[in-house]
Amino acid sequence: MSAAVTARRPRFRVGSLVLPSYAHLVILWLFAPIIVMAIFGFNDTHGKYNFTWAGFTLKWFLHPFGIPTLVSALTNSVVTALSATTISTVLGTMLALASHRYDYRGRTLIDAVLVMNIAASEVVVGSALLTLFVTYGVGLGFVTIVLAQVMFSIPFVAITVRARLAGFDPALEEAAQDLGASPLQTFFLVTFPVIFPGVLAAFLLALAICLDDYVITSFVAGNTQTFPLWVFGATREGVPPQVNVIGTFIFGFGVLLAVGGATYRTWRERKLARESAIATRA
């Protein structure tokens, strides 16, 4: 027995170095462009191009919104994404509820369409939408962007909420109805609070996808600019450092959200632990 243990240990030590180093190298690879992006936000460039280091400056951080077209593109991005995500969260949650609770006719068809939507490449979907809008003379712009973004975010919402619903105990709903609650009351007082984390996760996921969408939006945006479209267009002439600054802000915001969420969770856990400790003591 001891021989087997000692024989295993050296192998384990090598393994215990290689694997974590590999994982951390991958993490470094993931962060490399973010680091570059942040650093070049401090670049004191005089010309249009921001790829050679010319000195350190804080001026871009002090005037990040100095380019009006960039600011309006950002605003467009945020407004379209928020509108689209709100609509798609509602529609997608409804789809998820229906598929989870009931077995209706056409259920497998809808499932197939949802999967097809996720799997369908953006180029195909974007170009199909463009042909649709062009054929029927629909002006491209804000509205078409929202229409398109709702369309491709519904499946993500439906699947995320369905995953959350899968762990949902139907006994809770039955109990509520036994106590006289109408279906609507059951939903708002029992079901929704329980699935809320899933719905929130779906909302945030859809929001991230809509904000960052380039391909489909580029087909249907017409004259309107969103942030990814603006940045891609700016690559021709040289992306100004303000874009790097805004990107760094967005990343910082993400860090704050993540840290905030984690802190909130640990705070909740500690609070619950404290309360249960008090309860048991009492």
């Binding site: 003379g137 629909v138 017409g222 004259n223 690559t235 002439e237």
Partner: protein
């Protein structure tokens, strides 16, 4: 006087048959054919003049147009004089002057990065009959401008409001074959497509199109994705005059480009970002537009990059101002279009943009500005601009350049397919 517009087909039982079919009347077909075919070239010689007069005005808005006091001007990036105010914001001195003189406020934007891309953005709106939100757009002569005119998506200009243009515009820009009589467009600036190279990285003299094929520059050569620029320059490089070329010539040119790509000498087909690659050192020699090199050197605060026209011949193109259909402030637009043909304004723009100005008399103004310059550096730079053949080309320079080969719709599809087979591969 009626607005000739293509109305979208209404949804009825025949929708399968003609989803995007436009209504073609005899008049639009005539006008379309007139704009597209080589007969337009004849029109410049005077035969088409009468023919044009026989066709009634298209999108004539000048009877009812009134000054609105505001103007939405869509242009290409780095295509106007700029300055920085105390807060670090960009201002446009010539536009500020214009507002002072006429009281018209200009909303300037730079949404145009590429003719085809911009056209693709505005076409659906124009097809649906709605305005695109701009009063002046700047489009290069080529397939997209031809399409805009053929689809009647431009407002016809009133010559009586363009006195500066007819008085000061240089011979070359008046009455170009792609828009006989300047009915719809007047030039903003022109430019050359030629070759640019980094003098710090290449010590020998560059003077020929075939220098782009030098194996010494392997992996460091750039060409354009734009089929018109690349195709026409290659034809010239092979000694073929674009206007006389046939599809078999185009195929030969495409094969030559294919060889360049396969040998690994070519790094990439670039859009406008070629200048970034050249500045970064990703390429050492590349197809280029004349004014970009000036801007890049200015930006890098050195004179490393040099532009030249290949000895076999360069390409000349014109970016044109035009008023799209449904423009909200046409009178303000045409006032501005006339304003830029004042020699002083033209000089101001030429000094900043460094592309070919359409007002040849601006040269004298630039020389005056050079003489009156406050310091030696400014004087030298202004004098260089006045002497530059990229801003004030001589007739000899111009003789060795050629416009894009004019293409009707069938030809343009063929042209695109032949060259895209290499460029998009």
């Amino acid at each position: 006087m009626t607005r000739d517009r293509d109305l979208p087909e209404s949804l009825d039982a025949a929708w399968l048959r003609g989803l995007t079919q436009t209504r073609i009347t005899r008049r639009t077909a005539l006008a379309g054919a007139g704009a597209l075919s080589l007969s337009a070239f004849l029109a410049a010689c005077g035969i088409g003049g009468t023919q044009q007069n026989a066709v009634s005005h298209q999108n004539w808005v000048w009877d009812k147009a009134t000054k609105a006091g505001t103007l939405d001007f869509a242009n290409w990036p780095l295509y106007i004089d700029t300055a920085e105010d105390s807060a670090g914001n960009t201002t446009y001195p010539s536009l500020v002057e214009f507002t002072k003189q006429t009281g018209i406020k200009v909303n300037y934007s730079e949404p145009i990065q590429d003719n085809a891309e911009f056209f693709a953005k505005i076409a659906p709106q124009l097809q649906a009959g709605s305005a695109i939100g701009y009063d002046i757009i700047v489009v290069t002569n080529g397939i997209q401008l031809t399409n805009l005119m053929a689809k009647h998506w431009l407002t016809e200009l009133d010559p009586t409001k363009l006195s500066n243009f007819f008085q000061n515009g240089s011979k070359r820009v008046l009455n170009r074959s792609f828009d006989a009589g300047n009915r719809f467009t007047i030039p903003w600036q022109s430019g050359f497509t030629g070759i640019a190279y980094n003098t710090k990285k290449i010590s020998r003299e560059i003077n020929s199109y075939n220098d782009l094929y030098d194996p010494a520059f392997k992996g460091k050569v750039g060409m354009f994705t734009n089929t018109q620029d690349t195709g026409n320059l290659t034809l010239l490089g092979m000694g073929i005059k674009p206007q006389n070329s046939k599809p078999s010539d185009w195929q030969k040119a495409a094969n030559k480009l294919k060889g360049l790509r396969d040998s690994g000498i070519l790094r990439k087909f670039y859009d406008q970002s070629y200048i970034k690659a050249l500045s970064a050192g990703d390429t050492v020699i590349s197809m280029a537009w004349s004014g970009d090199v000036y801007q890049a050197n200015l930006s890098a605060e050195n004179t490393d990059l040099k532009f030249l026209l290949p000895k076999e011949g360069g390409v000349i193109w014109t970016d044109n101002m035009c008023i799209p259909l449904g423009a909200a402030h046409p009178l303000d637009a045409i006032t501005y279009m006339n304003y830029v043909y004042d020699p002083k304004v033209a000089a101001q723009l030429a000094e900043a943009i460094n592309y070919i100005t359409p007002v040849s008399t601006a040269k004298a103004v630039v020389e005056q500005d050079a003489a009156a310059a406050p310091d030696a550096a400014t004087r030298d730079s202004l004098q260089a601009t006045a002497n530059s053949s990229a801003v004030f080309p001589s007739d000899a320079d111009l003789a060795n350049t050629s416009y894009y080969r004019e293409l009707n719709p069938t030809e343009s599809t063929q042209w695109n397919d032949i060259f895209n087979a290499v460029i998009l591969s």
